[in-house]
């Protein structure tokens, strides 16, 4: 047993009558990675917020290095050496790496002015120590998300963090970057830092964590050394029942719904040709930056294409924008919920129907009763869990938000649906529901393109996998030939 860094006992939190955390224990040792898993709404975020000083627990105790820990504010947590790295990074994009790292505690010279030389030296030292290769003088806005994440971690280390809480750090990274992040985590472990690691990717738990705690409905359903358990154990603790295996049946396919012929868009992708039939699910695999999202954007009319042709149900088409694409029965669910999906301060009801208000209009006015009926149906069908359809969408969990956006895509009765990372930041329970939902749509004859960086997802859903690399289609693999290995090889090898 490692020596204890953090010990939390019987943590309890409720909002109104709603108990979101019930007597949860958690301990983290020095140099230990303790993973926390659970479906959305299981209480992970609340636990993180308590550790980060955002919320105060209503009951229970916390000790850091044996001393009583009382966190009244995020600042108090920082002062105690507990740093939370959120999925949404909090760097200032126009400042350089070194400025970001020392933001709030800039080194000063004898005159009280900014000591740039010392700042640079200490940044270099820090980055070297963590083996991070980044030019510290470039504005961080110009760096990749993965690099920015590392800077955020380096920043935490620079303030002598004893404990790091990584909230779904891998959600925004592709496979290679995940490796780099995990290398960094290993080095942090070696330096005796305790790490709380949140992830929806169970295989990551087995790669990186020493121990794991499972939460369900605000309660701790299990804690174990990772070496003593397997995925099935985790899943059953998370969902409270055994995980059933997935069976795919062959679906009947119809006419060609969408066809791209040698489509190119300057600087994004080149000569992309493929077709999707009604009732077919085509997976678009590849590394981040391979041009997959850009192809989807071109189809949907938000990115111009410079050459090539697109046919929708056999007719050559060129969309002037999302409105035109929508009228032709094409819908797109973006990979970036926050930037391109949610209307954050509007109710779920309005979020679900904004894509096709005309459907509820009569004599120029919206029929709210019809709108409510439609949304109620979507909530039922997609099993969206929410207090009310009047609730602001930002109060829902990631999985439920995503389901609302799927409902939105359906409001236009699409015949071609493009899902871009449909389960990003979504828990395993909601994920399975979304998969089943996509499959049902295909069974109903909708042509579907699924863009995904998650191998399992692509392999599970796709009738055919297209692998993109460097803006070109590098391979086309029918279901029988698409394996983790063949897709990975096509995506990353020349």
């Amino acid at each position: 047993m490692t020596d204890e860094l953090l010990q939390a006992q019987a943590l309890r939190k409720q909002f109104g009558n709603n108990v979101v955390l019930r007597d949860v224990d958690l301990s983290v040792g020095r140099g230990e990675v303790h993973a926390i898993v659970g479906e959305n709404g299981a209480g992970k975020s609340t636990l993180i917020k308590i550790l980060g000083g955002v919320h105060r627990a209503d009951g229970g105790t916390m000790k850091l290095e044996g001393r009583e820990l009382i966190l009244n504010s995020p600042q108090a947590a920082l002062d105690q050496g507990i740093v939370v790295i959120h999925q949404e990074l909090s760097l200032a994009p126009d400042l350089t790496t070194e400025e970001n790292i020392f933001l709030g505690h800039f080194p000063r010279n004898a005159l009280g002015l900014l000591d740039r030389r010392r700042m640079r030296e200490r940044t270099r030292e820090l980055l070297d120590r963590l083996s991070i290769e980044i030019d510290p003088t470039v504005p961080v806005g110009q760096l990749s998300i993965a690099q920015q994440q590392m800077i955020e971690i380096a920043k935490a280390i620079s303030v002598e963090a004893k404990m790091l809480v990584l909230d779904e750090p891998t959600a925004v990274l592709d496979a290679n970057r995940v490796d780099t992040l995990f290398d960094l985590v290993e080095r942090l472990k070696a330096q005796g830092i305790g790490i709380v690691f949140i992830s929806h990717h169970l295989e990551e738990i087995f790669r990186i964590a020493d121990r794991v705690t499972v939460l369900r409905d605000g309660e701790r359903t299990g804690t174990s050394d990772v070496s003593a358990i397997d995925q099935d154990w985790l899943v059953s603790k998370m969902i409270g029942r055994e995980f059933e295996a997935h069976h795919t049946q062959a679906r009947g396919m119809g006419e060609v719904a969408l066809e791209l012929e040698e489509l190119s868009s300057e600087g994004a992708f080149e000569n992309v040709s493929f077709s999707v039939r009604a009732g077919e699910i085509v997976g678009l695999a590849g590394l981040i930056g391979a041009g997959r999202t850009e192809v989807a954007q071109a189809i949907f009319g938000v990115r111009p294409h410079s050459s090539g042709q697109m046919k929708v149900f056999g007719r050559p088409t060129r969309f002037s924008g999302p409105g035109a694409a929508k009228r032709q029965g094409i819908a797109y669910v973006s990979e970036d919920r926050k930037a391109f999906g949610l209307l954050p301060n509007r109710p779920v009801r309005e979020n679900a129907t904004i894509s096709n208000l005309a459907r509820f209009r009569s004599l120029g006015l919206l029929r709210l009763d019809r709108e409510r009926a439609f949304v109620r149906e979507q909530i039922e069908q997609l099993d969206i869990r929410l207090p009310s359809m009047q609730a602001e969408i930002s109060t829902l969990s990631g999985g439920n938000q995503q389901k609302v956006l799927l409902g939105r895509a359906l409001a236009g009765r699409p015949r071609v649906l493009i899902f871009d990372e449909p389960t990003r930041g979504v828990d395993i329970g909601a994920k399975r529901e979304i998969y089943r939902f996509i499959e049902e749509l295909a069974e109903d004859g909708v042509a579907i393109i699924v863009i995904s960086s998650e191998m399992e997802e692509v392999l599970r859903l796709s009738d055919r996998v297209l692998v993109m690399r460097g803006g070109r289609v590098a391979a086309e693999l029918p279901r029988g030939e698409a394996t983790e290995e063949s897709v990975m090889r096509a995506a990353s090898l020349d």
Binding site: D217, P344, R346, L357
Partner: protein, 328 residues
């Protein structure tokens, strides 16, 4: 389809849940309303004349012009925009009404004046929506430009309005209610319906909440943003109608700094400057709060200079309280 594994305890939207959320929203709005009621109660104790019908009608008449402007401003602010030019556009419409009434009938002068105001709003809208000029800058430019037009049109001297039928619009009463107040209420009702019950109105909220998401959902963002500024301009024209009628003179300085009063009414009424949240009902209450405060300060004989302090403090305190309550 049979579901073999539907998740447990799915708290679906029950109709009771809907109702409680509506109640909650109502409470939020009544927060502003409660402030108004409180202000009225306190005022009635401070001065006997306050609660008299003539005085209340007086308040309603006095807030009409800014109230009308604030309705148009609400549309713009809901899209996360701002319209600094409404005072100047009002000025243009006022001098146009006066100028046109010298030779034309009301039936010609009124529509033309309002159309001109809408045209200036259209320029704002095109600049913001299609040229990508920030609303603050675009309408700041228009603030100066339109004021310039008003001065050029009049040559700097006010144009008297001699058509006596025209006076009735701003000074008359119908069923005991001042005409300007009726115009304000009509503007409010139409706007309320448009915002709550039309695809356009719904989209105004969605654009303010997340413009990119709205665009991807197929909302004609550019067109609707343009329309919002045309509405704001047109509404400024309507306010100009009341102004010209009340003063019976077309002065080129009409409506100077009114844009600030309109913005104040909107934010005191609970509409967020960050877009996507608010209502014209709130704006109306905000207008009344400012109006009642001014009225009671007058009645109790508070120095006009000191009144400015009260108004300034009210705006800041109101927004502070709202920021607090929405976080809780």
């Amino acid at each position: 389809m049979t579901e073999t594994s539907s998740p447990p305890a799915a708290a679906r939207a029950a109709s009771t849940g809907d109702r409680s959320a509506t109640l909650y929203r109502l409470l939020r709005q009544t927060g502003v309303l409660a402030a108004l009621v409180l202000l009225i109660i306190v005022s009635s104790f401070l001065n006997d004349r306050f609660l008299s019908v003539p005085n209340l009608m007086n308040v309603l008449r006095q807030v009409s012009i800014v109230g009308i402007l604030a309705v148009g401003m609400t549309f713009v602010i809901l899209t996360k925009g701002i319209d600094l030019s409404v005072g100047s556009i009002l000025g243009v419409s006022v001098v146009l009404f006066a100028g046109l009434l010298e030779t034309q009938s009301m039936a010609v002068a009124i529509p033309l004046g309002i159309l001109a105001a809408m045209a200036l709003g259209l320029v704002n809208g095109l600049g913001v929506a299609f040229a990508g000029i920030p609303p603050f800058i675009m309408t700041l430019g228009m603030l100066s430009f339109a004021r310039g037009l008003a001065f050029i049109y009049t040559g700097g001297t006010p144009i008297p309005i001699l058509n006596e039928n025209f006076y009735d619009l701003g000074n008359g009463y119908t069923f005991g209610v001042p005409n300007p107040t009726l115009i304000l209420i009509a503007t409010l009702l139409v706007s309320g319906v448009v915002l709550a019950l039309t695809p356009f109105g719904r989209s105004v909220y969605s654009i303010g909440s997340n413009e990119d998401a709205s665009r991807l959902s197929g909302v004609p963002v550019g067109l609707y943003k343009t329309i919002v500024y045309v509405i704001s301009g047109g509404v400024a024209g309507i306010a100009g109608l009341v102004y010209a009628s009340q003063l019976s003179v077309g002065t080129p300085i009409a409506g100077q700094a009114y844009e600030l009063d309109a913005i104040a009414a909107v934010v005191v009424g609970g509409t967020s400057l960050f877009g996507g949240k608010g209502s014209v009902a709130g704006t109306f209450i905000g207008t009344l709060i400012i109006g009642v405060l001014a009225n009671i300060l007058n009645l109790t004989g508070v120095d006009p200079f000191v009144q400015q302090l009260f108004k300034g403090a009210l705006i800041v305190v109101a927004v502070f309280i709202m920021a607090r309550s929405s976080r809780a």
